[in-house]
Amino acid sequence: MPVQAKSVDIGEVLTQKSRRKDLFSAVLPFCGLLLTVLVLSIATKGLLLSPMNLVNIINQCFNTAIVGVGAAFVFAHGGMDFSVGASCGVAQLACIAVVTQLRLPLWVGFLAAVMVGVACSMVVGMGSHALHLQPFIVSLCVRSACTGILVVGCNALGKNIRVPLDVFGIFNNNIVKTIVLVALVAFSWYLFEKTSLGKEEKAIGGNRVTAVQSGILLGRNVFLSSLILGICVGIAACFQMSRSGTVSASSGNGLEFNIMIALALGGFPMAGGSAARIRSMIIGVLTITFLTNGLTLVGLDSEYVSLVKGLLFVVIVAVSYDRSNLKQVNFV
């Protein structure tokens, strides 16, 4: 039957077409990263990929990567936390206060930083969950509160608080950093892609009602994701203050925005769901770090770097935002 034969052929062609489309959207962020690196390498005459600058890059992407993988759990279930930069600052303040003012050992300071991080992300996560508020709004409030605490705290302790690098040396060791980074990313990847925790977070992001009706506990998942994010913020705080050498009112500033751009550049779905991948987060973080670093190397002022990042964010979101969720128009 010739008709039958023809239709089978077309079906096969179209199947391949749709596979190609899936592949395309998976590969696109990779290409973005490669293109960024390529263009900026040429623009900086190879300076971008020099060994010294690569160490810089690793240092610069360290914080965004650590907080990013933590944030992935929150974004996966459709949550969001815009307060991570400010809470990272307060965590640094807590850590330095414990170590220099209370003269307690470093590990207590570390614990204090983690606790502040967890407390902030919990207020955002569990607060919005319990009060049925938009997590974005709650996180803005927390961000504002944290900024205030940071300013007041820094003023009380003397504007730019110097971090005693002899005590914090361990957080400035490149080997320690690499081990922590690799271990955290690997562990997050395992949790996110291979365990029921990650799968449940993504299910909630895909369809909250369905997830609940399938027996998934919303509160438990919001709690765990906030916990993971908080711990990551605490860890990042200790490393960041040790690198910059001071804690000030601008500590942690801009971290949340870098994470948002990393999400967009890496192809991580903003509303969460089954397409969320740790891989996307990492690619995004690398791209944004190369971009920031490269543009600075080219000689662009930091204000202009911010401008470029902002424009890029709008363009990427406009081009790549998955609108298929909007198609199921919610009339109720």
Partner: protein
């Protein structure tokens, strides 16, 4: 009388990704005719009608309307040329009033210097509602306050605003109870009498037989045959749709009311929404039917039994170990499963794969002590379910957005079969699903019953109730008004008496 064609379609083709939705479809619609369009889910009937209504465009082929080339750019264009459609899905906006819904997109006609004359709109809307026999709906009421059926009637009124020559009704009756159906059928009759035309899409073969002058059968995107007059019988339609003879029984073959004495689910004096102080018991191996009009409270009852909504009084208990079903988490853990009436919004994740959906309630069983789920075990689970339920797909990784309604419904079943649920609460399990999948679901329910599992079947379709359940509870205004046991003599009339 020589019949005049009003709409002609020639060699229409349409593809969705890898799916060939329409293949060289020819179609002829005469004036004064009600033309049925039937086929299994995914056969292309909704696609075809939505192309006529301007919702989407064909890949190739042509249309003629009243002898002139017809190629609607969008739905409004189609409406202006006299083609109106009442769609399958909920299409009203809840947050605005009824009149604004009826005149959506036409508000400019009533506005001066940017101010909209709401009084005039409300009056016109009420006039239209009265005209179609739905005068009891208040045009100034917020749409949210209406029930599902009345909102559907508002959509009918909206289509009538443009005074169309061709009315397309796409599986609307599944959402309608008696009142809505009467209004719809009166409307259809009026179209026929005034020499206009209706394209009527439905899964209800009895209904099609009663209303249609001709019926075109689609299968896999192709026109199989067009029946007319006395050739339109339930048997002939079913045969053409599925492409093979049906076994002689469609519902359960036995007429014995059979179940164990053991109670597996016990609802005691529960109260929620429209029902108060309601008690019922489900037995091991029983199919318990709950039927009534759509606003009788049976849908809320299903949700309370599964712990989605909290009962204000009393409790829902699993007698084996005394567990109280307080939330869906406990329900699922204790082997219960729930299929929502609103499948796409509540029972599946559209944008995820079959695998992601099937494993939703099973993750607890698949994972080890630290929560690890091996890729192999989840794939095996999904593939098993695809094989058992014969889900038409490319594989476990295919997204649900690409599946037809019937196959999506199968995915919901596979969710609960995959975790071996003992109690299934099914709210309108066969709503908007073609006969092929329907029959498959009925066979499945028989098997589930044979294995000693229990089912609560909530449905508005009485043949299904009578055909499948061991015991039937009839609900009206939040109360159980009658209980019937399975018997051969039970008729729909017996039940309807207690429903209205």
């Amino acid at each position: 009388m020589k019949k005049k064609p009003i709409l002609r379609a020639m060699q229409v083709n349409k593809n969705f990704g890898p799916t060939r939705a329409l293949v060289d479809v020819d179609f002829l619609l005469y004036r004064g005719e009600v033309h049925g369009l039937i086929g299994e889910n995914g056969s292309g009937k909704s696609t075809f009608s939505s192309i006529i209504a301007g919702v989407q465009s064909a890949d190739s082929g042509s249309f003629e309307l009243n002898g002139e080339p017809y190629l609607p750019r969008n739905m409004v264009d189609a409406q202006n040329r006299g083609v109106g459609m009442i769609v399958q899905e909920q299409g009203t906006i809840g947050s605005i009033d009824v009149a604004s819904n009826i005149f959506t997109g036409r508000l400019e006609e009533f506005s001066k210097f940017g101010f909209v004359n709401m009084k005039q709109i409300t009056a016109r809307a009420q006039q239209i509602l009265n005209d179609i026999g739905a005068g009891d709906i208040d045009a100034s009421a917020p749409t949210m306050s209406l029930n599902f059926e009345d909102r559907k009637i508002v959509e009918m009124a909206r289509v009538m605003v443009a005074d169309p020559d061709i009315l397309i009704v796409d599986e609307t009756t599944t959402a309608l109870a008696m009142k809505g159906r009467k209004i719809l059928f009166d409307l259809i009759k009026r179209f026929r009498a005034s020499d206009k035309a209706v394209i009527f899409i439905s899964h209800d073969l009895g209904e099609l037989m009663n209303v249609c002058d001709r019926v075109t059968v689609l299968r896999d995107g192709r026109v199989i045959d067009t029946l007319s007059g006395s050739d339109i019988t339930e048997d002939s339609m079913r045969r053409l749709m599925v492409g093979r003879e049906f076994e002689d029984h469609y519902f359960r073959s036995d007429f014995v009311c059979s179940y164990d004495e053991e109670v597996v689910l016990d609802a005691q004096h529960i109260t929620y929404g429209s029902f108060t102080n309601l008690s019922l018991q489900l037995h091991k191996g029983e199919i318990l039917g709950i039927c009534g009009l759509s606003d009788c409270g049976m849908h809320e009852l299903g949700k309370v039994l599964f712990g989605i909504e909290k009962s204000l009084t009393g409790r829902v208990v699993l007698p084996q170990d005394g567990t109280q079903v307080k939330n869906p988490h406990i329900a699922v853990k204790k082997g219960m499963g729930y299929l929502s009436k609103d499948r796409d919004r509540e029972s599946i994740i559209l944008n995820a794969s079959i695998l992601d959906n099937v494993e939703l309630p099973s993750m607890r069983l698949l994972s080890n002590a630290v929560g690890y789920i091996s890729a192999k075990s989840e794939r095996r689970l999904a593939q098993e379910q695809i094989d058992v339920l014969k889900i038409k797909c490319r594989g476990p990784k295919q997204r649900l957005t690409e599946l037809s309604g019937g196959n999506k419904q199968k995915v919901v079943f596979s969710k609960w079969l995959g975790c071996d649920s003992d109690i299934l609460i099914l709210d309108c399990a066969t709503r908007g699903i073609d006969v092929g999948v329907k029959a498959a679901i009925y066979r499945l329910l028989e098997q589930i019953k044979k294995k000693g599992k229990s089912v609560i079947l909530i449905s508005e379709e009485l043949p299904e109730m009578i055909g499948m359940s061991d015991r039937m509870l009839v609900m009206k205004d939040g109360k159980i008004t009658a209980e019937f046991r399975r018997s051969e003599d039970l008729s729909e009339e017996d039940i309807i008496r207690y429903m209205i």
